[in-house]
């Protein structure tokens, strides 16, 4: 006996089946909820070492530095320069700028100097949407100095911006 499914039922099954299939695809891919970065507390008594730790946290959180832009210790085709050794390299990047000045400039005015081989694209991270405060900028610079160099930044350091 030939089983005949009525046309309206076929349409309902087609709609439900197709929708369920696409929804299933959405369930089998990796799931991640992206929450706003948690606030980072910087207190007046923090030492340079403390700032390095806070800077590392900011780089992979609120600062979005390591979220698809820069890398640390990777080679091959890169979107933006790898940061490994930047603490040592910073002083030699632009003639006349100290390492600290270079790092501050690259955060406040990233378009001022583009590392050869890479495209412009980074936005000043003291402005929205990242909006790091001055103390948070110092923490990030301390962390950058720690990558192959010796961190010197404290909360009393003047960045010139």
């Amino acid at each position: 006996m030939k089983l005949s499914v009525p046309m309206p039922l076929r349409l309902v099954l087609l709609v439900l089946g197709t929708t369920a299939f696409y929804m299933y695809l959405g369930q089998i891919v990796p799931q991640r909820e992206a929450h706003p970065p948690p606030p980072v507390l910087i207190s007046a008594e923090m030492t340079t070492e403390d700032l390095v730790a806070v800077g590392a946290e900011l780089a992979s959180g609120k600062g979005q530095c390591l979220v698809g832009c820069h890398t640390v210790g990777q080679s091959g085709p890169l979107r933006y320069p790898d940061l490994d050794g930047i603490g040592a390299r910073a002083a030699t990047q632009i003639e006349g700028l100290s390492g600290l000045e270079y790092l501050a400039q690259s955060l406040y005015e990233p378009a001022a100097f583009i590392v050869p081989g890479f495209a412009d694209g980074m936005q000043p991270i003291d402005q929205p949407p990242i909006s790091l405060s001055e103390d948070e900028m110092k923490a990030v610079i301390a962390w950058l100095q720690s990558l192959g160099g010796t961190p010197t930044v404290t909360l009393d350091t003047e960045l010139g911006y």
Binding site: L11, A20, L25, G26, V29, Q31, R32, A34, Q123, P128
Partner: protein, 643 residues
């Protein structure tokens, strides 16, 4: 038993059940515990009638609520919530439903007008009838669009009052023009629909033209509101260094600096272009689904032939609009990158990167469905067998491209699999997950689909052009050159840095676009006045082709829902990117799994409602209701007719 009697009986039973429940409730309340009658009477005389325990409880609650309300100072609400569903999902679903109906209402007049114009130029009445058939869908859909627009507006005002107030602060000067244009759209739409056959053809075409102009203007205004939320400013070379700068339309505190910059913001035009094309593709697919629905219902060959042709035209419109859509999408994505690298990276390499694997599956299904329908359609024409030998090669090309496009760069793997692969990416297959391979795949997909369309167009026709062989070879050379160029850049992209690789997408896109234009320009004179080698038998296609049309419409709808999620979700925890922070409990980007559930529910609601639209639109073709003739004892029918 007669079905009508069963339905009537169920209705009566439901009515009686409701009455019985109300009466029972009333009975229980009336018979709750009371003080003995004599005591109550005595208290009533003294003006101290005691309340029942239940009444006392209610009175106490009311008094407590009132006292609390009086003590509470008035506060401006920032957010309000909806229990169970949540405020974000509520607004999300309402916005998506509004957009789906709006897209349909904007798209149908566009191609109805073009079809009517073709009919006017060709002096063929069948085009006029077809355009009218499409327009029949508009009336109810327009009401649905307005209804969901009102739902969405109230939803935003109630659930996101502070943010809505901010948008009003920025865009209030655009509201009155919007409402006036909406009024004009209603005027033109209803005069276009009801005026069919009542005006001269030129006047009627003018109404259709104005309907499209006004509809597009409405969309452009609404697009300014939503794109401002993503890119609140325009692009201009302010410092004269040749590099465009971002000029914010608002101050750091969010105060409006320039309405012009807010309106003509960075992503406004890319969204306008993308939406016009996507709306036409979506509208064509939904109209084709309507034709398929009517085809499957059709009882006569004449009806089947009509709706088969209508489905073909709707699908043709959808495919023609669909082919350039990836390019428009690329332009939009490039502009998002140009506005903010953070947004761009978030889109393609961050939270949403896996979404594009699902998008690949959807677009692959759309290409497969569209090609499958065209191949089945060749069967309705005599002489179709000649071209069917090419289909397997096209199918192989499409399936391969589909597979490449859907290959993720990073695989979903267990710990042992990651250890075996030496990382989360497969040592060989991950190469197919890179942008070079994906751009190549989508361009070849477009070329293959266009080739399917060309074969369909040639089925049952023979060119009589004196240089037909030369022109056909020229087409083959253009096609092969474009495919070779696309493949070359795809392979070369693996040997250059990322900045150069990204730029390779441009020659790939241009070579395919150029090929489509050149081949079309050659094809038009080549098959003008072509000799018909066989008759087109409209209405003689397998029923499964009609289900394919509905599948295409479903996939389009789902795709629109998914891309709505990524466009809006890109802002992450910002209402207005970089300006107004979302501080509600929903200030996070939901997982892809959750998003696809919301999209699926929205699609099901939309298809339920569009089913109602189809049904209402099909009523016009049914016979008028007539009272049933009942024979009396003498064998005569009521009304004096003889049995």
């Amino acid at each position: 038993m007669n079905r009508n009697r069963i339905i009537f009986g169920i209705g009566v039973l439901a009515f009686v059940s409701v009455i019985a429940t109300v009466r029972l409730g009333g009975f229980l309340v009336d018979n709750e515990y009371r003080q003995p009658d004599r005591q109550v009477a005595a208290q009533e005389e003294q003006g101290e009638a005691e309340l029942t325990p239940r009444q006392q409880g209610i009175a106490d609650e009311q008094a407590a609520d009132e006292a609390e309300a009086r003590a509470r100072p008035y506060e401006e609400a920032e957010y309000r919530t909806v229990s169970f569903v949540g405020s974000r999902v509520t607004v999300w679903v309402l916005a998506q439903l509004h957009l789906l109906f709006a897209a349909f209402v904007l798209a149908v007049p566009l191609f109805a007008f073009i079809i009517e114009f073709v009919g006017y130029v060709k002096k063929e009445e069948r085009y006029n009838k077809l355009a009218y058939e499409f327009t029949k869908l508009l009336s109810v859909s327009f009401s649905m669009t307005a209804t969901f627009g009102a739902f969405l507006t109230f939803g935003l005002i109630i659930l996101y009052p502070k943010f809505t107030n901010y948008l009003m602060h920025i865009f209030s000067p655009t509201f009155l023009p919007y409402v006036l244009l909406f009024f004009l759209e209603a005027l033109f739409l209803y005069s276009y629909y009801y005026g069919w056959g009542k005006f001269g053809p030129k006047m009627h075409l003018f109404l259709g033209f104005m309907l499209n102009i006004v509809g597009t203007a409405i969309m452009f205004i609404a697009n300014a509101w939503l794109t401002f939320m993503m890119s609140p400013g325009r692009r201009d070379d302010v410092d004269g260094d040749g590099v465009p700068d971002f000029v914010s339309a608002v101050s750091e505190s969010g105060a409006l600096l320039s309405l012009r910059d807010a309106f003509f913001n960075f992503t406004w035009m890319p969204i306008n272009i993308h939406r016009i094309i996507a709306n036409v593709a979506f509208g064509g697919s939904i109209a084709a689904a309507y034709a398929a629905f009517r085809y499957l219902q059709a009882k006569t060959d004449e009806e089947k032939a009509h709706f088969d042709w209508m489905g073909y035209v709707g699908n043709f419109v959808a495919i023609i609009a669909f082919l350039p859509l990836p390019f428009a999408g690329y332009y939009l994505a490039a502009e998002i990158y140009a506005f903010s690298q953070t947004l761009g990276i978030q889109m393609m390499g961050g939270t949403f990167s896996w979404l594009f694997v699902i998008q690949a599956a959807l677009i692959g299904n759309l290409f497969l469905g569209a090609n499958y329908y065209l191949w089945l359609g060749m069967g309705r024409m005599e002489g179709g067998v000649h071209f069917q030998k090419f289909i397997k090669w096209l199918l192989i090309a499409i399936a391969l491209c589909f597979a490449v496009w859907a290959t993720p760069r990073y695989a979903i793997s267990s710990v042992s699999e990651i250890a075996a692969m030496g990382g989360s990416s497969h040592p060989q297959l991950s190469y197919l997950g890179q942008m070079s391979a994906k751009n190549t795949a989508v361009n070849i997909l477009i070329l293959s689909t266009y080739m399917s369309f060309l074969l369909y167009r040639r089925t049952g026709r023979q060119s009589v052009h004196p240089h037909r062989q030369l022109l056909t070879r020229a087409q083959a050379i253009v096609f092969s050159s474009a495919a070779a160029l696309v493949t070359f850049y795809g392979v070369y992209g693996y040997f250059v840095d990322s900045a150069t690789r990204i730029r390779f997408a441009i020659p790939q896109v241009y070579s395919v676009l150029a090929a489509l234009v050149v081949i079309t320009v050659i094809d038009l004179p080549l098959y003008r006045n072509a000799r018909q080698s066989g008759e087109t038998k409209w209405g003689k296609v397998p029923a499964i082709s009609q289900y394919a049309l509905i599948f295409i419409a479903l996939s389009f709808t789902w795709l629109m829902g998914l891309m709505g999620y990524v466009r809006s979700g890109l802002r992450q925890e910002w209402h207005v990117y970089g300006v107004v922070l979302d501080t509600s409990p929903d200030a996070y980007t939901p997982s892809l799994g959750f998003a696809t559930q919301v999209v699926s529910v929205t699609v099901l609601i939309f298809f339920g409602l569009i089913g109602v639209v189809f049904w209402l639109s099909s009523l016009g073709g049914k016979k008028d209701w007539e009272p049933k003739a009942v024979a009396d004892g003498d064998g005569r029918l009521e009304g004096g007719q003889a049995a």
